[in-house]
Amino acid sequence: MVDFLFYLFALITVLGAGAVVLSRNPVNAAMLLIVSFMGTASLFVTLGAYFLAAVQVAVYAGAVIVLFLFIIMLLNVDAAEQFRPDYVTFAGGLIAAALMILGTLKLFERGENFTLLTLQELDPVGVSTQSFGMELFTTYMLPFQVAGILLLIAMLGVVFISKRDKETRKDAA
């Protein structure tokens, strides 16, 4: 049962992600990205990581993709449809794919047994959301803070760029 579900959700995730890349219409791509994220969230559920699953849906499907759609709709969609990948994009994609394959091969090389273990089986204590939070705010406090600062920097960058644009426009006028 779990095996079957894993292959089902993995298939949904991979097919969804592939369709995102291949679809010409940006709105279709964004909607298919939701399908792919839902597949990932379902995989988290089969692993017993309910917290991650819920956060995955809330953050990616619920907020990030809404912003994507927001921007796609505000831009001229017809112009976006005529997008053709150039050599740099193509080369970038190739390198990314090669790295993916290499990484996967390396994983298999380690001789890990690829039977599906749920989180409960791996770590009976560390499943609940409480212990997740406990670990996050004690053992992994530094990475957590660094991630927060990274987000803050991105936010400051956006504020800076949008402010600067306004000032130059004012100068031009």
């Binding site: 049962m1 779990v2 709105v27 909607m31 939701i34 309910y50 917290f51 699953a53 819920a54 956060v55 849906v57 809330a58 499907a61 619920g62 907020a63 809404v66 912003l67 759609l69 927001f70 709709m73 505000l74 609940s128 959301t129 409480q130």
Partner: protein, 369 residues
């Protein structure tokens, strides 16, 4: 992972019962809205629609007709039988997907919403389809998907007013989701103080409120959360996506017949579910009194279970009534006022509220070393 076929059938039957109950309530809520609005405006409201045989029963039939109870049937039939226009300029796939997408979150959220309790041998267990540990996170995850119905309807309609409605709704929902999430953090901090570790489970949260309802201990959180649900369900004074005085009918301008009916039913389903969540988080679920009293507690057995469901439903419907009351009392905000309120008032206030209650709860907790 061994599930009998009968178990699966039973789960499906229970899920169908809850879904049917929700849809019937949302149908009745439409009637309630018409009646409430007419009372507020000094009218009588729907009192003429009648059915051939039922309406002819001497006293009962007339009474039901005067109460307008046949009106939902007529409304539903009208929406079913009308012509279903699909304009040529729409994107067909998303045009059909949008009404369905707006209905799904409401029905999905009910899965984790506990609506009663069963007491057996002194131990209370929840009456809920799925008693998840991460109940509230599940609700936030699913409710954040509610925006897609509107944004897709607006985009797929391929005309200006629906498009503006869709864009407004997406901006509004993202803005108010933040303060909604922040406003209920203190509730779970309270429920997870040492000695009462409930996690994010909704049933345990309701049981935690047996001593005192959330709304009494943290009224400010309740107020912020209530305002956020108004914004998230697009009710007046926050019904920007379909403000009819500027956008014709907003995101559903191009919709007619049953597809419009689905949007309409989804709006009321969302209000009912939102009220249910508010009841669970702040109004103590099925606990009859705001403050605990040993004299009044729910009995064991089926009577107690039915009472708990009844109390939960009464509270939920009172919140639904509040939604309607506000709608027919307050005028609509301007769009820029809504964004300003969301980002410069609600969000900072929610943050202050969070820090304030963190301090209060820390002071209340006895120091243990």
């Amino acid at each position: 992972m061994t599930m009998e076929v009968t178990d699966i059938v039973w789960v499906i039957v229970k899920a169908a019962m809850v879904a049917i109950a929700l849809l019937s309530f949302s149908n009745l809520a439409v009637l309630a809205e018409r009646k409430v609005s007419s009372w507020i405006q000094g009218r009588v409201g729907p009192n003429r629609t009648t059915l051939p045989l039922l309406g002819a029963i001497p006293i009962l039939g007339t009474g039901l007709t005067r109460m307008g109870l046949f009106q939902p049937v007529a409304d539903g039939l009208k929406l079913l039988l009308k012509e279903d226009p699909v304009p040529d300029h729409v994107n067909k796939f998303y045009f059909f997907l949008a009404p369905v997408a707006s209905m799904i979150p409401a029905i999905t959220i009910v899965v984790v919403l506990p609506f009663g309790q069963i007491i057996a041998d002194g131990v209370a267990s929840p009456l809920v389809l799925a008693d998840l540990d991460i109940g509230i996170l599940f609700i936030f995850a699913v409710s954040s998907l509610g925006v897609y119905g509107m944004i897709l309807a607006g985009w797929a309609s391929n005309s200006k007013y629906p498009f503006l409605g869709g864009i407004r709704s997406s901006a509004q929902m993202i803005s108010y989701e933040l303060s909604m999430g922040l406003s209920i953090l203190p509730v779970f901090m309270w429920a997870n103080a040492p000695g009462a570790e409930t996690g994010l489970n909704l049933f345990s949260l309701v049981q935690h409120q047996q001593l005192v309802w959330g709304v009494i201990f943290m009224p400010f959180s309740a107020l912020l959360f209530l305002i956020s649900i108004f914004a998230e369900t697009n009710r007046l004074p926050f019904d920007m996506p379909e403000s009819e005085s500027e956008l014709v009918a907003g995101f559903n301008t191009e919709y007619g017949s049953f597809k419009f009916g689905l949007f309409f039913a989804a709006e009321y389903a969302h209000i009912i579910v939102g009220s249910g969540v508010f009841t669970v988080l702040f109004l103590g679920g099925w606990h009859p009194l705001p403050v605990y009293s040993s004299a009044i507690s729910l009995p064991e057995g089926s009577v107690g279970t039915l009472l708990s469901i009844g109390i939960f439903l009464v509270k939920t419907f009172l919140v639904v009534f509040f939604f309607m009351w506000i709608r027919w009392t307050l005028p609509r905000f301007r769009y820029d006022q809504i964004m300003k309120l969301g980002w410069t008032m609600m969000l900072p206030l929610a943050l202050v509220n969070l820090v304030l209650y963190a301090i209060i709860l820390a002071l209340m907790t006895p120091v243990t070393h």
